[in-house]
């Protein structure tokens, strides 16, 4: 065929050129984002591995993972350059009967991050427990019980807006409500706060819970609430209508229908999607800045339940903030910084990964 007479032949027009140029640009932008992310991961993984892992067996630096943060002392002794943590340094001096050794000290640069790991663990467990309880219940109401009306509209509006409240504002809210206001039962009448006698020689003092685990739990839980509700509602909506109708038509009460024929199928989805909420909560620093986090705490919180709830904790994100802004930067602190960042990033990544993978698996498993 004569190419000139073929009206469908490829023509290189301006439009085509513009198209390929623009597509190149779009592709470039997309891969630039991925590149940046990879770079950030790369730097932290490479530099952090030096702290978290070691070249010889057992390959993992257990001290870093299981010890408390300590001050690092760097000094020269008999011509050798020594680096010792606080405890080891004191023992070293005592063993040699020396009072003072001239040493440079670096805060938080020795020891490990065990209290931060446990602190983050407790914060996440508690806040997610609360958030899941309230969030799943709310979602059940919204998706199963609610009917169009003022109340439901209001609830939806509140959830939407709650999702947009900055985390630091949640921190302020937690500070104002839980730390400075919530009532505690005490054996005395606190004159500086409103207080009410409840009998048996006890008073309810509105003096606040202070900086503690409980304050952090509720602050974080309320922050995660919108995510959990959205995730739970989505899973409930995915359960076919027929299950509910079939169950109700057999004379089940509403709650029986939900309990036996909706929740069992929605629950796995609710939980996996909510894990993403956990990743958020675990990653947040601002809300715990003044509600739950301590700069330094040697041991994990313990004691009875009330004591446990009334204690502040160290937390990985807060620790990273402290060691990357509150102490002078140098080669010794850098090791701890990257190590902590790697552990934290690894933790959050693992949680988020789990959620994403589980979600894909769920989607494949439940087909109605």
């Amino acid at each position: 065929m004569n190419p000139k007479s073929n009206p469908f032949a490829h023509q290189s027009s301006g439009a085509r050129l513009a198209e390929s140029a623009a597509f190149g640009l779009f592709r470039g932008a997309t891969y630039f984002i991925l590149l940046c992310a990879t770079m950030i991961f790369g730097v932290i993984v490479v530099k952090g591995s030096g702290t978290v892992f070691k070249a010889s067996p057992p390959f993992v630096n257990w001290t870093f993972l299981t010890a408390s943060p300590e001050t690092l002392y760097v000094f020269e002794f008999e011509g050798k350059k020594m680096e010792l943590g606080d405890k080891a340094f004191r023992e070293f001096k005592a063993a040699r009967g020396l009072d003072e050794i001239e040493a440079e000290s670096y805060a938080h640069s020795a020891g490990g991050i065990w209290p931060c790991i446990t602190g983050t663990f407790w914060l996440v467990i508690g806040s997610m427990g609360i958030a899941l309880f309230i969030g799943v219940s709310s979602a059940i109401f919204l998706s199963e019980y609610s009917q169009q009306g003022r109340m439901v509209e209001l609830i939806r509006l509140a959830i939407l807006n709650l999702a947009g409240v900055p985390s630091i504002v949640f921190g302020l809210f937690g500070l104002g409500l839980f730390v400075h206001f919530m009532p505690v039962v005490a054996g005395f009448d606190d004159p500086s706060t409103p207080s009410f006698p409840i009998g048996f020689g006890h008073w309810l003092n509105f003096s606040g819970w202070g900086i503690c685990l409980a304050s952090g739990w509720f602050t974080l839980a309320f922050m995660a609430l919108p995510v959990v509700i959205a995730a739970s509602e989505e899973s409930l909506k995915a359960v076919p209508r027929g299950f509910r109708e079939g169950s109700l038509a057999l004379g089940a009460t509403k709650w029986q229908a939900i309990r036996t024929n909706v929740l069992p199928y929605a629950l796995p989805g609710m939980l996996t999607s909510s894990i993403l909420g956990i990743a958020r909560v675990a990653g947040e620093t601002a809300p715990i800045l003044f509600t739950a986090a301590y700069v330094m705490r040697d041991s994990a919180p313990g004691g009875g339940l009330l004591d446990f709830l009334g204690q502040g904790v160290m937390a990985l994100p807060y620790h990273i903030y402290v060691i990357s802004s509150k102490i002078p930067q140098n080669e010794f602190t850098e090791r701890v910084q990257y190590g902590t960042a790697l552990v934290f990033l690894g933790l959050v990544t693992a949680i988020a990964m789990t959620s994403i993978l589980l979600r894909i698996r769920m989607r494949n498993r439940y087909r109605w």
């Binding site: 009917q147 079939g246 057999l250 004379g251 089940a252 029986q256 036996t260």
Partner: protein, 278 residues
Amino acid sequence: MNATFETRMDTLPQAARGSQQGAPDTSDPMIEIDHLDFYYGANHALRDISLQIPGHQVTAFIGPSGCGKSTLLRCFNRMNDLIEGTRIGNGQIRIHGIDISDPAVDTIALRRQVGMVFQKSNPFPKSIYENIAYGLQIQGVRDRRRLDEVVEKSLRGAALWDEVKDRLHTSALGLSGGQQQRVCIARAIAVEPSIILMDEPCSALDPIATAKVEELIHELKKNYTIVIVTHNMQQAGRCSDMTAFFYLGQLIEMGKTEKIFTNPVQKQTEDYISGRFG
């Protein structure tokens, strides 16, 4: 507190069973509808419907899509309560002489008396056994022997026992479409209702499965009053004793099936049956 609750649960099925032991009385109208008006929001879906459905017979509701036949069916067990914005404007539906919209009527008890089979078969994603036993379990029946008995009886009743007796504990979702629908029927009769409503039960089934279900319907009418909504005129002709024709939310005509199909009174009925519209 709990004790009262459970006692109530236990007395119910017995009451229902009692009804089966009485001699079938076909002359008695089971469901009576008096000048019923029904609304979906502002939409007047059913207009001034009055009819009587006799006991122990199969009554078919026919009519073009959107004529209100399914809506009426869902009124009988108050499934419409689940849809927002629906309400009964005027009139009454009486089952066994009781006005079912009365606040004193418990929808739960009503639905145990009036079973339902849906257009799209909706077995729960549980085993066949659990599907059938579900209705009793939610009434608080825990006795394994009794459950086994009821499951077998219901499956036999639904003409499914021989096909599934070896895999009672496998998922009901693994069955064929026709089998699934019969599981749903077995599920419905397991709670021993007096009335079974069927909302286009065969519309998603192939002809062979349809034939089996129709056969089953014929069997079931010995023990139950059956109301079936269908699109399929032949089906209505084959398996029903009475037929009601609806059009645009109104009852046009009701009568013995042979009469409706051979010699309808109304012109619209004749047009529909002869396939001129719908």
